[in-house]
């Protein structure tokens, strides 16, 4: 039987039309879930060894002990390094740019999750800083008006600063993790593999 193979090659100039950028949602979700899991491990360990206390509000940074700070910083950073790394590995890309963006997208996916868990009251388990993501639920009656209390205001400000720090550390960590996971040497002016595949959504590579 005769077999005819027709191979069609369509060449598209990068500027001519839209070329979608491939996002591996499998990688992104694995990365996000592993970041959350490691965050929980760090948070629970910190509570177990007494570095964190559940539901603690910091009226002053002087109450924030060194071991609490260490667990908060390393927990926030390292769990997202793992998240970004896992995202890059499952994605399977070896381009550092794509890998880092997948890490960052994994971080993006965790943000609504963190807000949700904090709203449910589980934020304290993730670390001292994530409790600040929880707002008092709108449907629950406020037992004591908080706004007259200067210490409560200060604590709210510190909680916001802590949550912001944790989130931004996580973003930086996920990008570093994605970079690690790409397997490229982590310098700025070096590319190990020739980029044969020109999905040009992110422009010509270096």
């Amino acid at each position: 039987m005769a077999r005819v193979e027709v191979e069609e090659v369509v060449a598209v100039e990068p500027d001519d039309g839209f070329l979608p950028w491939y996002v591996s949602w499998s990688g992104v979700f694995v990365g996000a879930l592993s970041a959350l899991a490691l965050l929980l491990v760090f948070g629970l360990t910190a509570i177990a060894v007494g570095a964190h206390q559940v539901g603690q509000h910091f009226a002053s940074w002087h109450e924030f002990r060194l071991i609490t700070l260490a667990f908060s910083v390393f927990g926030a950073f390292l769990s997202f390094v793992l998240g970004g790394w896992a995202a890059a590995k499952v994605t399977g890309t070896r381009r550092p740019e794509t890998a880092m963006l997948h890490g960052a997208i994994a971080w993006l996916v965790t943000v609504p999750g963190l807000l949700f868990f904090a709203a449910l009251g589980a934020g304290g388990y993730l670390g001292a800083w994530y409790g600040g993501l929880a707002a008092p639920p709108a449907w629950a009656a406020q037992a004591t008006p908080m706004a007259d209390n200067a210490a409560a205001l200060l604590a709210a400000r510190n909680a916001a600063l802590g949550s912001l720090t944790a989130l931004l550390l996580g973003l930086a960590g996920s990008v570093v993790g994605g970079w690690l996971g790409s397997g490229e040497r982590m310098t700025l002016n070096f590319s190990k593999i020739p980029h044969r595949q020109h999905g040009r959504a992110w422009g010509g590579m270096r």
Partner: protein
């Protein structure tokens, strides 16, 4: 996106967050 996607990613996703944290703490926003 220009030629050096890497530079933008590093600048905005790595440098900017860390700089913001550093500035906030250096300004003494938390007490």
């Amino acid at each position: 996106m220009g030629r050096n996607a890497m530079i933008y990613i590093l600048l905005w996703l790595l440098g900017a967050p860390l700089t913001l944290i550093l500035i906030l703490f250096l300004l003494g926003v938390g007490r």
